[in-house]
């Protein structure tokens, strides 16, 4: 159980660099570790030889923002032959207060046979997609990729309005009409 004595505020000095390794919510300035968020101080011993990691558990976590390699859950907004535009709603399991724009370019949809990919046969507007951030992109949108088994559509609705269930890595079936639609499906995790 942590006590209030472990509560720290930004700028508070936590220890010397020779004692601890800096973790989340801390920063290093002239050989000393300082807290950078309000929260509770935590010390975790990872392995025997390394320094214990000192981190600050945020009290009031800031809204998530996408960063490179983060796994995001997003909704397809519109598609065109070159890319699918999505709005990112969840980053690494943390919801965003405000949607971020992202695009999945045609060459980032899958890892093999990239030249045969048709965006229209991979995503449709309204699909919920799991993807990885590959670049911060341009001024407007983040660049995402679904080029791995576990990334792709995780939820979608068919033309008839029924929900789709995956039957192979590139096919999904409507529960109502049994019509098969093409998608880049995510492997269940």
């Amino acid at each position: 159980m942590t006590s209030v004595a472990d509560a720290v505020v930004p700028g508070q000095r936590l220890g010397h660099v020779q004692e601890y390794a800096p973790g989340a919510g801390t920063y290093l300035h002239q050989d000393f570790l300082y807290a950078s968020v309000v929260g509770l101080k935590q010390i975790s011993q990872s392995s025997s030889n390394e320094l214990p990691t000192l981190s600050v558990q945020r009290e009031n976590s800031q809204s998530a923002i996408p960063e490179i390699d983060a796994i995001v859950t997003c909704k397809v907004v519109r598609v065109n032959p070159r890319f699918a535009s999505v709005s990112i709603m969840v980053v690494d399991g943390k919801p965003c207060t405000d949607d971020f724009q992202g695009i999945i370019r045609v060459q980032d949809v899958r890892a093999t046979e990239k030249d045969k990919v048709k965006i229209y046969n991979s995503f449709r507007p309204g699909d919920i997609v799991r993807a990885q951030v590959i670049s911060l992109g341009d001024a407007r949108s983040y660049y995402l990729s679904t080029a791995a088994n576990e990334y792709g559509v995780i939820f979608g609705t068919s033309v008839a309005g029924g929900s789709l269930i995956p039957i192979s890595w590139q096919e999904m079936q409507c529960t109502k009409t049994k019509i098969i639609e093409l998608r880049k499906c995510a492997k269940p995790m």
Binding site: V4, A7, V9, P10, G11, Q12, R13, G25, Y27, H29, Y34, S36, V37, V38, G39, L40, R58, E59, N60, S61, Q62, S63, I65, E67, T97, D98, D99, F100, Q101, L136, G137, D138, A139, R140, Y142
Partner: protein
């Protein structure tokens, strides 16, 4: 007439407000302040509380007797203004708004140049403390509303303090908290009147009054606002106006730094309090 506002009933009566009995004019004297209980180096008591605006990611409310300011922090969120190009750093947007009823003279709803300028000053004062390098392509919006103003300098310093507490409350990574403080130089002497002091330089050095209120500000010769990161020992903003000797400036900078350390303790306390409150819920 302002059509956007709901006008009062046609037959309205002026509210019955009890004015303090002694509205006598305060004349600056050595070691004698408008608020007689304060010493020249004393600040007004500060009430600071975080987390009062639920909609915001972080918020703070500050009260220094008659100065009352609320502040909300939203974000980080994606930059709305397209056309600025890619930026590896986040942006801190600050906006201060004086409520229409906050000053003796009614303020308008549109942002005036003074508010724009104060907004710029506040964002300059806070930017060194926020780790914007961790927030590429994002923006943090800080909205400050002045509910009641008792002197512009003290308003500005209270706004910076409150905004910094609100940023910390929002869980945004910061290098340090920013505390801000104001001081006024007021010419003191038995026979100085306003007209004389305007024309000639007062013979005795002016007295430094920390955290001056409106009544004191009316008599001031100059004022300084200093924003400071106490544990980093860095000044993030300084704004001085009015004529003063170099010695007075250095003295007041020192006084302000000292006062900021005291304000830091209050901020520290307020933020820790918000943690314990969350724990108990």
């Amino acid at each position: 007439m302002d059509r956007k506002r709901v006008a009062g009933p046609e037959l309205s009566v002026a509210p019955l407000v009890e004015y303090p009995v002694d509205r006598k004019c305060w004349i600056p004297q050595k070691d004698h302040r408008h608020d007689a209980s304060r010493q020249p180096e004393d600040m007004r008591p500060i009430y600071l509380k975080t987390g009062l605006i639920n909609q915001a990611n972080g918020s703070a409310y500050i009260e220094l007797e008659k100065t009352k300011i609320a502040c909300g922090v939203y974000g980080p969120r994606s930059v709305k203004r397209v056309g600025q190009g890619f930026s590896g750093h986040g942006v801190l947007n600050c906006e201060i708004k004086f409520a229409t009823f906050s000053c003796a003279k009614r303020r308008t709803n549109v942002r005036d140049p003074q508010e724009k300028n104060l907004s710029l000053i506040i964002s300059q004062a806070l930017t060194p403390a926020v780790r914007l390098d961790l927030l590429p392509k994002s923006a943090i919006d800080v909205y400050i509303t002045v509910l009641e103003s008792d002197g512009i300098s003290s308003c500005l310093s209270a706004a910076i303090t409150a905004a910094s507490a609100a940023l910390a409350h929002a869980g945004i990574e910061m290098l340090d908290l920013v505390a801000a403080c104001s001081a006024s130089y007021i010419p003191t002497g038995p026979s100085i009147t306003a007209t004389e002091s305007a024309g000639s330089i007062a013979s005795s050095p002016p007295q430094i009054f920390m955290d001056a209120d409106l009544e004191e500000e009316k008599h001031e010769q100059g004022s300084i606002v200093l924003a400071y990161m106490p544990s980093r020992n860095e000044v993030t903003h300084v704004l001085q106006s009015g004529k003063a000797e170099g010695a007075i400036i250095s003295q007041s900078v020192e006084h302000c730094v000292e006062a900021c350390n005291k304000i830091y303790a209050v901020m520290h306390h307020a933020l820790l309090e918000s943690i314990t409150e969350n724990k108990s819920v």
